[in-house]
């Protein structure tokens, strides 16, 4: 480990870390937005809707993320219809392909986490809310979802950390995020240890900050319950 060299490559790696953060934040946000309807569909008593959601969750959890990224980045572009559609300016950008793949992947895992949270809501709470005249969206917004969220938060914290690691696959479609920058430095300088050790340390730091943030959020939601 050469400290001078390590210091020299640090700025490049930090630039990569910024892209990693952008990928993770956007993919998590969009994934969460998509996960809620998927979880509700999965819980729907209407069999076709529930089967559709189950199928989506199954496919995205049973295949490697790399296949999903390549299917979207290389696979979609092969069709004339896609290339001529209004979506093409988005789908030809590696950044948006990565976001799309990460978001769809995250939504599949997150939907299962949310479903578990919703199913953990005690029936008595729902009965009480019904007795107060709540129903439908109001019942969900005021009672079911807040309680489900509290239950799901620790698992969602793990999903966030998984997403930090998953974002490294964006480097396979030319995006120079943290892992991509480290690989490029290793290939250029033949000094792999420094690049990968510093990149690894930055990932651990990101995880640490995320874990702290989730703990803080957990304490806040349990505090609000008393």
């Amino acid at each position: 480990m050469n400290p001078a060299f390590a210091l020299e490559i640090l700025p490049q790696l930090l630039t990569g870390a910024v892209l990693t953060l952008q990928l993770v934040a956007l993919a998590l946000l969009l994934g969460l937005v998509l996960a809620l309807p998927v979880a509700l569909a999965r819980l729907s008593p209407f069999a076709p809707v529930s089967a559709l959601a189950s199928g989506y969750i199954f496919v995205f959890r049973a295949t490697p993320l790399l296949v999903q990224i390549f299917l979207i980045y290389y696979g979609l572009g092969q069709f004339e219809a896609v290339r001529e559609s209004f979506l093409w300016p988005i789908l030809r950008e590696p950044f948006w392909c990565a976001i799309l793949a990460l978001m769809l992947n995250s939504a599949a895992y997150t939907a299962e986490i949310i479903r578990g949270g919703i199913r953990s809501v005690p029936y008595g709470q729902i009965e009480a809310a019904r007795a107060l005249g709540m129903s439908g969206p109001l019942l969900y917004r005021r009672v079911v979802l807040p309680l489900a969220w509290r239950q799901a938060l620790p698992a969602y914290g793990n999903e966030m950390i998984q997403m930090v690691q998953a974002s490294s696959l964006a480097s396979t479609i030319t995006l120079m995020e943290l892992t991509g920058v480290a690989r490029a430095i290793a290939a250029r300088t033949f000094q792999p240890v420094e690049a990968f050790v510093i990149a690894g340390a930055i990932y651990l730091l990101l995880n640490f900050v995320l874990t702290r943030a989730v703990h803080w959020a957990e304490r806040r939601v349990t505090h609000a319950a008393h």
Binding site: V59, A62, L71, T172, T179, A182, A187
Partner: protein, 237 residues
């Protein structure tokens, strides 16, 4: 469309099938070696020695905290140098080159082992104390208790968790394709480039991965049922 998957020079069926074989081989080897790493790390975590515990905790925290792709790149760029250095310590002067297969297996095994370590540690800790006490009361020594009581009971507790680790390991092998090792994902990539049919070949790869994960999930469930023969169920099922 399906003639793209025919066997022989015209189609990619044999290449894809061979790639699938390499994927299963890398995953199986990495999983078994990972189990050894995991069992060693779990033993270190549960040992009374502080340095051992610290070393094992560092291993699992670091490896589970960084992307598997980073570990694969580290082994790809740094593996040969590391092995050459170790060989030098033993008096070997030449340079050691590692094959892409060895790099892939080693990197995935290190990742798999870190996850397996937590599963095994949890399972060993879940072995009821009474069972150990009973074995001791029968006059068993530590090694015998380990072999006759702790390992069989812990194995049953560990099976569901190890099933998850296996699924992770299968999916991590796809990442090894970045080193150009001719496994399933790499073959799909090459075939896509040659035929300009990426959608078809990545869908094929996805279906094969799904088949592998689904079949092995069923196999693990069967193993779990097998391990639970003779266990009286009080709750569930």
């Amino acid at each position: 469309m399906l003639e793209l998957l025919s066997f022989g020079p015209g189609g990619w069926g044999d290449e894809i099938l061979r790639g699938t074989g390499v994927t299963v081989a890398v995953a199986s080897l990495a999983f078994v070696i990972g189990l050894l790493f995991g069992a060693t790390a779990a033993a270190a975590k549960l040992s009374g020695s502080l340095p051992l515990r610290l070393a094992a905790d560092t291993y699992t925290t670091v490896v589970r905290g960084v992307p598997a792709l980073l570990v694969i790149w580290l082994f790809f760029f740094g593996g040969s140098g590391m092995v050459t250095w170790v060989a030098g310590l033993f008096g070997y002067g030449g340079r050691v080159e590692l094959s892409a297969f060895a790099v892939g297996v080693a990197a995935v095994a290190v990742v798999s082992g870190a996850y397996a370590a937590e599963v095994i540690r949890g399972a060993v800790q879940a072995v009821p104390k009474g069972q150990i006490e009973a074995a001791r009361a029968l006059g068993m020594r530590r090694r015998l208790i380990l072999r006759r009581v702790t390992v069989p009971v812990a194995l049953r507790y560990a099976l569901p968790g190890l099933g998850n680790v296996w699924q992770l390991t299968i999916k991590d092998t796809a990442l090894v394709s970045v080193t150009a090792l001719a496994e399933l994902m790499r073959m799909a990539f090459v075939a896509s480039g040659a035929t300009r049919e990426p959608f078809f070949f990545y869908c094929t790869a996805a279906v094969i991965y799904m088949a592998i994960t689904t079949l092995s999930a069923a196999a693990f469930r069967a193993a779990e049922r097998g391990a639970e023969r003779g266990v009286r169920r009080e709750a569930g099922r």
